[in-house]
Every structure is written in structure tokens, then in C-alpha cells.
């Protein structure tokens, strides 16, 4: 504001200079005017620098805070949210929408402040020179706001239509590319091109409607401010001729008016920024308003809370109990698990087998509360997982998921991803047990080799073994293995299992596998079918039973034979 106030004194000096010129003046006085003008510009410039630096700087800080908040919130949202929301959708909000909000808070506010102060002060100065002239020259002003209101609304609507069509085009391209084989097989390429052309044509038409409005809108704003300048020139000129105001006042008046010119044009832009910014803010708020369906209870259970418990229970594992658990995935009709009961005493190993979709992985997903089980059905150390402090609960679990997610970091960092610090010797030890050490030695930079997007791509088996090493690093009392050896060959599987057995003895282990060979040494094997336990017992007992497990065993023997032939 100060900035603008300073800048606005400039025309006043001009007025004095012109008036003096008109009357005759010394060159010394002129030099003084020139220097005053320069000083004003210097002070004004300094203020402008500060304003820009200040407001735009603040907007960057706000953007930073908002982005941090968003990320922190996203970290709290459960798996279910990520399964129903596309990553691209979240990314788009965290980038495009965030930046639109930033534009509103930064440049939007800056130009708004600018526009308002310049308008207020210059109108005030103009009023001081000649109220009548001011009144006349500001006659086009209501027209300006009318224009902004009229066109702003139309531009907004047409813009939305364009965005909708653009989304359709994107979706079409995405589908076309994903279905490339079908399109090729049915020789539908030309047809696809035709349809795409049609959609693009529609996009073009919608854009043209916007262009039409746009083409009138901006020149119209320029025209209206031009009319104001014209009125000032014409009526002001008359005033001077009639002797009502001095020539200097007239010049100053026109300069003030010229200063109004830009804010008027900027007004359209600022309004656009605010409209977009508000719309984007709503989209961001949609994410921020999602209440995480799975939260740590207010005073969650932590093992240390209870007297007598030996800290973290390391060395013997923790007891897992599942009591008459029936579970439905959110939105699903059929239950994934039906009336399942199971006790895994501390230090024991229980294996779940069954066909795909039998509910094996679901059991494992409920323990760390990736999905919430009904109250009182899943207990760790005798405490309902829902009553545990979420972090304390997860800290007691070492999970090897079915699909390994690797981060674009080094091999060592990926292995140590689940622990605060991973000394190299421990990382190497974990890699040795997971039989990853041999592979790592062949990597270009050993444990410091980058994996993921910008590094080397690991094979399915290597990924699984990295995940096993990662879980071993956690050194947690409970190990959950979700079919974690499906991508390694039989020999490697045997070698890894041999290494793991030592680790399993010190821990409670719940494992899921498709392979009989991986589970045969478990203390208890549970066969799941359609979410219910249909057989349970040791390997030998189940073979003797001659049921589904025995059949699975037989088939896998044939398979092994086949593989060897």
C-alpha cells in the first residue's frame, strides 16, 4: 500500500513541473523536479521489491505448509482409501490444485492489493484535482464491473465444459492404449482414429466458444479504460481551455487515469485466479476432510504400560489369537473370512494354505490393521488390535507382503527401510539369510546400487528376497509371511527356509503359502476355503487325513516331476 502511495506522488510532481514549465521556469528548478521524480521512483521501487518479496514469499511458505499438511494427512489414510482413489487423482490435487491455490494466495492477493490501492488512491487524487472530471471519467467504471461479472461467469462455465471434454479425451487415450491388443486384433485402429478426431473436434468447438468470449472480454476491458482516457482528454481539455484547472493538473490527471488502466485489465485476471484457486482449494479440502477410518485409539495399549511384561517380549514372540472372525471388505457383499478361530502361541509357526481368494492374505492384512477387523476378533498378546497404539502394534510386526514395493533408493536403504538405522553388518546378515547376498555382489555397486525407477530393475525373486531381508531387519516378535517365496525356484526356497527357520524359532510366525514344501514344518497348518477353516493339523496329520491338503500335496509332486522333465 505504501508502495502505491509513493508511486502515486509521481504524477503530482509532474503536475508541478508542467505547471512551472507553462509559466516559465529555471533549469535549476527543472533539475530538482527530475531528481525528485527519480527519488520517488527509487523509494517506490524499494517498496515494490519488498511487497513482491513479502507476499510472494509468504505464498511459497503457505504452499509449503499446505503440502506438508496434505502429506501428513495422506500418511494417515488407510489402504482402503488408496484402493478406491487413483494415485493420479491424488497427485493431480497435490500438484495442480495446490499450485492454483498458491497462485491465488500469492500473485492473486498481490495484484488484488495493488489494484485496490491504486484505484482508491488515484481516484482520491483525481477527486482532489477535479471532482466533476473524475465523475465523468469514471462513468465507464460500472460498465467494467458489469463486463467482468457477465464474462467471468460465461468464461467459467465454458472453461468447465472444456475441462470435461479434455478429461474425456484423456480417458479415451488411456483406454485406447490399455486396450491396444484388442484394437489391433479387431483392426479397429482407423475407427479409433475417427472417434478420436470427433472428440478433438468437439474440444475444438468448445474452445472456440471460449475464444469467442475471451476475444471480446479482454479488448473490451481495454476499450473501456480507453474511453475513460478519452473522456479525460476531451473533458479535461475543455476544463483547461475554460480555465477551471491548470494544464499541469490536467497532465497529472491523465497520468493518474493511465495508472488505473492496468489494474482494470488485471482485475479480470485476478478474478480468474481467485475462481480457480477457490475451486482447487475445495478439491484439496476434499482430501483433507477424509477422516482416516483406521486410527490409533486415544490412549492405545503399549506393551511397556503393563507391569511385569518384559518390555518388547523379544526372544519368545507374541501370542496371536483370532476369535470367531467374520470379515467383509468395505463395500463387498460376501464375507472374505467366515467364523475363523485360531491361536498362535508365542514362538509357534502357523501356516495358512488354500486357493486364491480363500482369504489367506486377508488374515495377515487384519493384524497390522490395514483393514479393521470387528472388535474383539483379532488379538495380539491378548489385546484387541483395535485397542493397541497403532505404532506400537505395527512395530511388533515384521511383514513380508505378496508384492514387494521397493523405493528408489539403494539396496541397503531398501533393506533397512523399516528400521531407524541399519548398520551395514546387520543389513548384510539379513541379506545372507534371505539369500540375497549372492545377487547383490553381482550388482554394479553392491549394496549401494540404486533400485527402482532410476536404478536397476530387480527380478521378482530378488524383490521378494529384499522384502524378506527388510522384514528380518525389523527384528520384531511377530513375522507375517504372505506367500513370500512364490517367485523363487525350489532350491532357493529351501535355502531361504533353512535360514528363516532359525529366525522363526525366536518369533511367532503366521505364514501364507501356495506351496506345501514351504509349510510342511509348521506347528499347525490351516486349510482355508471360502474364508473358512476346513482342515487343520500338522503336515503328517493332514496327509493322513487324505483331504484337500493331501490332494494339493499330490498335485505339487506331479508339478515338481513335470518341472524336472
Amino acid at each position: 500500500m505504501l508502495t502505491n502511495a509513493v508511486a502515486l506522488t509521481q504524477p503530482h510532481v509532474l503536475k508541478l513541473a508542467v505547471d512551472d514549465l507553462y509559466r516559465g521556469v529555471t533549469s535549476g528548478k527543472l533539475a530538482r523536479y527530475a531528481i525528485i521524480l527519480l527519488l520517488i521512483a527509487l523509494v517506490g521501487g524499494a517498496f515494490k521489491f519488498l511487497m513482491r518479496h513479502f507476499i510472494i514469499g509468504i505464498s511459497r511458505h503457505l504452499e509449503y505448509d499446505l503440502r506438508n499438511d496434505l502429506f501428513a494427512h495422506l500418511q494417515k489414510l488407510p489402504l482402503e482409501y488408496y484402493q478406491r482413489t487413483r494415485t493420479g487423482e491424488i497427485m493431480s490435487r497435490a500438484t495442480n490444485d495446490l499450485s492454483a491455490v498458491r497462485m491465488m494466495l500469492g500473485p492473486g492477493i498481490m495484484y488484488m492489493v495493488n489494484t485496490v490501492t491504486v484505484a482508491v488512491v488515484s481516484v482520491a487524487c483525481m477527486l482532489a484535482i477535479s471532482p466533476r472530471l473524475t465523475f465523468y471519467t469514471l462513468l465507464p467504471l460500472p460498465l467494467v464491473s458489469l463486463t467482468v461479472w457477465f464474462f467471468g461467469d460465461r468464461i467459467h462455465r465454458r472453461f468447465e465444459q472444456i475441462q470435461a471434454q479434455f478429461a474425456d479425451i484423456s480417458a479415451r487415450v488411456q483406454e485406447n492404449l490399455s486396450g491396444v491388443r484388442v484394437i489391433r486384433a479387431f483392426t479397429r485402429e482407423a475407427r479409433e482414429v475417427e472417434v478420436f478426431r470427433g472428440m478433438n473436434h468437439e474440444y475444438l468447438l468448445r474452445n472456440r466458444q471460449l475464444i469467442h468470449v475471451w476475444g471480446v472480454f479482454y479488448p473490451l476491458l481495454g476499450f473501456l479504460s480507453g474511453v475513460a482516457a478519452l473522456l479525460a482528454l476531451y473533458l479535461g481539455g475543455r476544463e483547461v481551455v475554460l480555465g477551471h484547472i491548470s494544464l499541469g493538473s490536467f497532465v497529472a490527471f491523465t497520468v493518474y487515469l493511465a495508472m488505473l488502466n492496468w489494474p482494470v485489465v488485471a482485475l479480470g485476471w485476478v478474478i480468474n485466479l481467485f475462481q480457480r484457486g477457490m475451486a482447487s482449494f475445495r478439491r484439496l479440502a476434499e482430501i483433507l476432510d477424509v477422516v482416516p477410518s483406521i486410527q490409533s485409539p486415544a490412549r492405545g495399549y503399549r506393551p511397556g504400560d503393563r507391569n511385569g511384561a518384559d518390555g518388547d517380549g523379544r526372544g519368545r514372540g507374541a501370542q496371536i489369537e483370532i476369535r470367531r472372525l467374520t470379515f467383509r471388505y468395505p463395500g463387498a457383499e460376501a464375507p472374505a473370512l467366515r467364523d475363523l478361530s485360531l491361536v498362535v502361541p508365542a514362538g509357534h509357526t502357523v501356516a495358512l494354505v488354500g486357493r486364491t481368494g480363500a482369504g489367506k492374505s486377508t488374515v495377515l492384512a487384519l493384524l497390522p490393521r490395514l483393514f479393521d477387523p470387528p472388535p474383539g476378533t483379532v488379538l495380539v498378546d491378548g489385546v484387541d488390535v483395535r485397542d493397541w497404539d497403532l505404532h506400537a502394534l505395527r512395530a511388533r510386526l515384521a511383514i513380508v507382503p505378496q508384492d514387494t514395493f521397493l523405493f528408489s533408493a539403494t539396496v541397503a536403504e531398501n533393506i533397512g527401510y523399516g528400521v531407524a538405522e541399519g548398520p551395514r553388518d546387520q543389513i548384510e546378515r539379513a541379506a545372507r539369510i534371505a539369500r540375497l547376498d549372492g545377487d547383490v555382489q553381482r550388482f554394479p555397486a553392491g549394496y549401494d546400487t540404486l533400485v527402482g525407477e532410476r536404478g536397476i530393475t530387480l527380478s521378482g525373486g530378488q524383490r521378494q528376497r529384499t522384502a524378506i531381508a527388510r522384514a528380518l531387519m525389523r527384528d520384531a516378535p511377530v513375522m507375517l509371511l504372505d506367500d513370500c517365496l512364490s517367485s523363487v525356484d525350489a532350491d532357493t526356497e529351501e535355502a531361504i527356509l533353512a535360514g528363516l527357520r532359525g529366525e522363526m524359532r525366536r518369533r511367532t510366525t503366521l505364514m501364507v503359502s501356495h506351496r506345501v514344501s514351504a509349510v510342511r514344518d509348521a506347528d499347525l497348518i490351516v486349510v482355508l476355503e471360502d474364508g473358512a477353516a476346513v482342515e487343520r493339523g500338522t503336515h503328517d496329520a493332514l496327509l493322513a487325513l487324505g483331504g484337500r491338503y493331501a490332494e494339493l500335496h499330490r498335485l505339487q509332486q506331479i508339478e515338481a516331476e513335470l518341472e524336472a522333465s
Binding site: 516559465g24 488407510p78 500438484t95 482407423a190 476499450f223 497532465v251 525407477e453
Partner: protein
């Protein structure tokens, strides 16, 4: 996290790219020239304001000539109206040319994508390609509409001001322009500084987005590993780096614009001082002085505009490079040309010569990459009208054979012949019209059921579709859907069950009535009722035509003329069901494994399903984000 720096930012201006980009303006040469003319005229009109003000002051006001003032005012109004008209024309012409060029580019990309080999899509994620067609093209829009022509406008405005000033008073112009070196210094310094920070910002933004994307995709892993606090710290650090990179430019920007204004003020002061003395001594008019001051002020607007354009240019170059890279990826040489007229007027495939459907694989070797052979020395043949089943364990190469036959990939060695003619010599379009393919993973497009059955082939009447659907038992469930054949199918057929999608795929293939059917039976588990329906549908589909079936159903196996057993990419046994069983070899064991188990085995093809612990769909769908 990664020590890699994204060095893909490229130069701000690349002559080669620019030339190629400008080539897209060629069809609209006339309009572009018109736009340039309009812009030049507009620049002239813009300059009239100060000149008219000068006239008004010198000849009107000072001489107290109200008549003259009237005339000037009318002229001024005319100038404003012309300016309005020119402004409208300029926006209209340039924006619509821009939109047309965008459409041309998108069409060129899309058409090119239709002709790229299928293997290309194995290597390039859909999300990235989508970005090319949508966002990268959009970035260029700004270059075409706001950039190219506006630069002309700015240059002409500058030139016009120079001419106008020199006409009015050359000496005073010299005084005003004594600040020019200052402008140059400030602008060049700004450019150098901003270019460096611009690179910095892009790198940091790419890193921020990559980190965010990775964390969103792997969120459940982060959560079960209890790593949220540390990743938040890491994010905060990256976020702060991004912010600080911006704050750096805020400084330069905040310096640059006031600096320009300051230089402008210096020019005005010089004019007041020097010009004022001239007014006193040599009789320059007061109007001249005022006009000069106004011109000087206008001189600085295009200059700050020009530096704004620099950003647009830099982004456009990066996008153009990516677009042209894609366009330069060689298309499949045997891919059908996409002349829309020919394809649309194609009518039913001409059958002269007759497509018989004789397929021959002759010592075919194939690997998707390097030396990892999926097929080794595979030979077999399929006589016209014969039905052959491919059988083998998962990973034995069955599906690959179907892909090769459709011409999606080319074998590294060996020959595939259809009707005695090598595949390379076939117009793939013509070949594919005779071959019906049913894939294991049924792909449905968003639209209607009918649209999915027809797949854009308008020659298929509604009756044909319904008849096909009835024959494969799809009609039953389709008629139960709201809207029947007009029922809406969501993206990838998300609302339909696996069995229903299969039946639709069968109906789709049957409606086309292909001479040769390539069928990859699905292994997904369905309920017994659906299973029966599927079996009957497959039988109907295989009636009266040559078939190559990748079989998973016992009924299918028993119906075929011959069974080819693939094992580890080699053909190991060939014969009828009975012969092969009698042989007691691989088929015998496979048969017991795949077709005799009471519960279908879960080993082998189980791990593809989405376990609850697996990360959510990691495909990057959004497109505005370039993860460098």
C-alpha cells in the same frame, strides 16, 4: 534420496525443434500472416494514443481551440474502436490457429500410437504416453497462441515507439534511450540468474513429485514398516528445497520488475530535465514532452513481457522434444496405413483368393528381451478347418504363440506362414480381419454393451449382435441389465463379473464370424453355473471354423483334432487326447495336474491376483505430472 540429477531440462531454445514446430503452422500460413498483420496494426494503433494527446495539448488546449479538441476526441474514439476490433481479431485468429495446431498434433500422435508395435507398449507405461498426447501438447498451445505472435507484437511496439519518437524529436529520443544499456544489463543478468534457478526448480519439483508418487503408491508398505515419521521428515526436506528454490527466483523477480520501473523513471526524469530546458529554450512543445513521457512508459511493458515469454519458450522446448521423440519412434513396418477413407469405405474384407486359415509355425524362436527364449524352435501347423489345442504349464509360451500369430511381435528367427504366405508379407489389417482373438484378460471399453460387441464395426446390425449374444449365453444377463444392450459399461468393465466379461468377449468374436479363431481360455475361477455356460459357449464358438485354442477346459481338450504340448518353450508332444494319454509323458502329467483336480489348482497361476497386502494400483494415471 537419489543422487541423480535430472538433466533433461534441455536448452531454452533449440533451432531444430523450433523449425519443426513451426512446420505445424504451415497449413495455417494465411491465418498466421493475417494475425501478424493484425498485431502490427494493433501496435501502430496503440501508439496513436500519446500522439493524439500531444495533438490535443499543443493544438487544442494551448490554443484554446475547442473545435480541434473535438476532432482529436473523435479520432481518439475511432482509434479505440479499431483497437477493440483488432484485439478481438488477434485473439480469435491466434487462439483458433493454436487450437487447430493442437488438434493436428494430438491426431498425429494418436495415429502414430496406433501404428507402434505392441512391444512398445510393454516398455512404456500408459500414463507417460498419455502425458505426451494431453499435457505436452497443451504446453505448446501457449507457445503458439501467446508466444510466437505476441513476440512480433512486442517487437513491433518497440519499433513503433522508436519511429514515433524519432519523428517527433530525434534529440529527445537520444536522451530517452541513453538508459538502454542499463536495460540490457538488467535484463541479461536477470535471464542468467533466472535460467539457473529455473533449472533448479524443475529438478526439485521433479524430485518432489517422484517422492510423493512413490509414497502414495507404496503407502501400505510405509505404514506397516511404521515409517511415516521419517518419510514425513524426508518429504519436509524435499518440500523445503523446492520452496527455497522458488524463493530464490522470488528475489530475482522482485528485483527485476522494480529495477525496470526505476530505469523507466530515470528516462522520464531525463526527459523532464532535458526536455523541459528545451521547452524553455528551443521551443519544443509541451505536448511533445507529455507524449514522450507516455511513450517511455509504454516502452518498458514489452520488455518485461519478453522476459515472461522466455519461460514459455523453455517449457515448450522440453515438451516439443518429448513429443517429437515419440513421433520419431519407428512404427511397425507392417502396420496397416491409417488412411481413414480407405478403412471406412473398406466394406467386408474381400474374399477373393479366399482366406483358408492355414497356419504354419516353422522353427520359430522368440524372446521378449535378450536371450530369454520363450519359444525355442517351435514348429506346428494348423490345417484349414482344423482345431488345435495348445497345452502346457504356465510360462510354457502358449499365449506368446497367439500374440505372434496376430502379428503383435516378430520372432527372432523362423517363419510364421498363413495360407503359405509369410506373416511379413501380409497386410496385417487384412489378416486380422479374418482372425478372431479372444484374450484371457477380457478388455472392455467404456461405452455400451452393444458398442463393446460391435467394437466400432458399423456393418454389424443390432440383430447380429443379439443373435451372437444369444448363442454364447450372454443375452441372458445382458437383457437383465438396465438398458439391455444399451447398458453402460464402465472403464474396463468394472461392474461386470469375470464370467460375464468372458461371455461378452465370446459374443464379440462370434459376431465378427472369423475364419480362424484364436482363443486363450481364461483360468479365473467362476461358479459352476457360469462354468457350464462358458463351456457351452466355447463349443458354440468353435463350431465350423479353424481354431487355435490355449485350452484350460477338459471339454475343449476333448473336442479338438490335435493337441500340441509345449514345455519350457519347446513342442514336446503332439497328438490326440487319447494318444497322448497313452504316451504317458508330459501331457499325462499335465492332464492330471490341470484337469483332474477337484479344486482347480491354485499353484502356478495364483500369484497374479491382488493380495490384500499388495500396493494399490500403481499406474500413474495423472498426466500433468512429469516424473522426469
Amino acid at each position: 534420496m537419489s543422487p541423480h540429477e535430472e538433466d533433461v531440462l534441455g536448452r531454452a531454445y533449440d533451432h531444430r525443434l523450433m523449425r519443426r514446430l513451426m512446420g505445424y503452422l504451415r497449413p495455417y500460413r494465411g491465418r498466421v500472416l493475417a494475425a501478424v498483420a493484425v498485431v502490427v496494426l494493433d501496435a501502430v494503433v496503440q501508439l496513436a494514443g500519446p500522439w493524439l494527446t500531444m495533438q490535443a495539448i499543443d493544438n487544442g488546449i494551448r490554443h484554446r481551440d475547442l473545435g480541434h479538441l473535438d476532432r482529436v476526441a473523435i479520432l481518439y474514439l475511432a482509434v479505440l474502436l479499431i483497437g477493440f476490433g483488432l484485439g478481438y481479431l488477434q485473439t480469435q485468429i491466434m487462439q483458433s490457429v493454436g487450437q487447430r495446431v493442437m488438434m493436428d498434433l494430438r491426431m498425429a500422435l494418436f495415429r502414430h500410437l496406433q501404428r507402434l508395435p505392441v512391444s512398445f507398449f510393454d516398455r512404456n507405461p500408459v500414463g507417460r504416453l498419455l502425458t505426451r498426447v494431453t499435457n505436452d501438447v497443451d504446453v505448446l498451445n501457449e507457445l503458439f497462441t501467446a508466444g510466437v505472435v505476441a513476440i512480433f507484437g512486442d517487437l513491433f511496439t518497440l519499433l513503433g515507439i522508436l519511429i514515433a519518437m524519432s519523428q517527433i524529436n530525434a534529440e529527445l529520443m537520444g536522451v530517452a534511450f541513453s538508459v538502454l544499456p542499463l536495460i540490457l544489463i538488467v535484463t541479461l543478468t536477470f535471464r542468467v540468474k533466472v535460467r539457473r534457478s529455473f533449472r533448479d526448480i524443475r529438478t526439485r519439483l521433479a524430485r518432489l513429485n517422484a517422492f510423493l508418487n512413490e509414497n502414495l503408491t507404496g503407502m501400505s508398505t510405509v505404514q506397516v514398516l511404521d515409517r511415516e515419521p521419517r518419510n514425513f521428515e524426508a518429504f519436509r526436506g524435499i518440500n523445503a528445497g523446492h520452496r527455497d528454490a522458488h524463493l530464490q527466483t522470488v528475489f530475482y523477480h522482485a528485483m527485476f520488475f522494480p529495477m525496470l520501473e526505476l530505469i523507466g523513471a530515470i528516462a522520464v526524469s531525463l526527459i523532464v530535465w532535458y526536455g523541459g530546458r528545451q521547452v524553455m529554450w528551443t521551443g519544443i512543445t509541451l505536448g511533445t514532452l507529455v507524449a514522450f513521457i507516455q511513450y517511455t512508459q509504454r516502452f518498458f511493458r514489452p520488455i518485461s513481457d519478453l522476459s515472461e515469454k522466455y519461460n514459455i519458450l523453455q517449457q515448450a522446448m522440453a515438451s516439443a522434444e518429448r513429443i517429437f521423440d515419440l513421433l520419431d519412434t519407428p512404427a511397425d513396418s507392417t502396420a496397416p496405413a491409417l488412411e481413414p477413407e480407405v478403412a471406412m469405405a473398406g466394406g467386408p474384407p474381400s474374399l477373393d483368393g479366399g482366406f483358408r486359415g492355414h497356419v504354419e509355425f516353422d522353427r520359430v524362436w522368440f524372446a521378449y528381451s535378450g536371450e530369454e527364449w520363450v519359444l525355442r524352435d517351435v514348429s506346428f501347423s494348423l490345417a484349414p478347418g482344423e482345431r488345435v489345442a495348445l497345452v502346457g504349464a504356465t510360462g510354457s509360451g502358449k499365449t506368446t504363440i497367439a500374440s505372434l500369430l496376430m502379428g503383435f511381435y516378430r520372432p527372432q528367427s523362423g517363419t510364421i506362414r498363413v495360407d503359405g504366405r509369410p506373416l511379413e508379407d501380409w497386410d496385417l489389417h487384412a489378416l486380422r480381419r479374418h482372425v478372431g482373438l479372444v484374450l484371457q484378460d477380457v478388455f472392455l471399453f467404456s461405452g455400451t454393451i452393444a458398442g463393446n460387441l460391435r467394437l466400432g464395426d458399423d456393418r454389424l446390425s443390432d440383430e447380429t449382435l443379439e443373435r451372437a449374444a444369444r448363442e454364447v449365453h450372454a443375452h441372458e444377463f445382458v437383457s437383465r441389465l438396465e438398458g439391455g444392450y444399451r447398458a453402460v459399461v464402465r472403464e474396463r468393465g468394472a461392474t461386470l463379473s469375470a464370467g460375464q466379461r468372458q461371455l461378452l468377449a465370446f459374443a464379440r468374436a462370434l459376431a465378427c464370424d472369423p475364419r480362424l479363431l484364436v482363443l486363450d481360455e481364461a483360468t479365473s475361477s467362476v461358479d459352476t453355473h457360469t462354468e457350464t455356460l462358458l463351456q457351452e459357449a466355447v463349443e458354440r464358438l468353435m463350431q465350423d471354423r479353424a481354431c487355435l485354442v490355449i485350452a484350460h477346459r477338459l471339454s475343449t481338450i476333448q473336442d479338438v483334432d490335435r493337441i500340441v504340448v509345449l514345455h519350457h518353450g519347446r513342442v514336446r508332444e503332439t497328438g490326440t487326447h487319447a494318444e497322448l494319454l497313452a504316451l504317458g509323458g508330459i501331457y499325462d502329467r499335465l492332464y492330471r495336474l490341470q484337469f483332474m483336480s477337484p479344486t482347480r489348482p491354485s499353484s502356478g497361476h495364483g500369484s497374479g491376483s491382488n493380495g490384500a497386502l499388495s500396493p494399490p494400483d500403481s499406474q500413474i494415471v495423472d498426466t500433468r505430472i512429469e516424473l522426469a
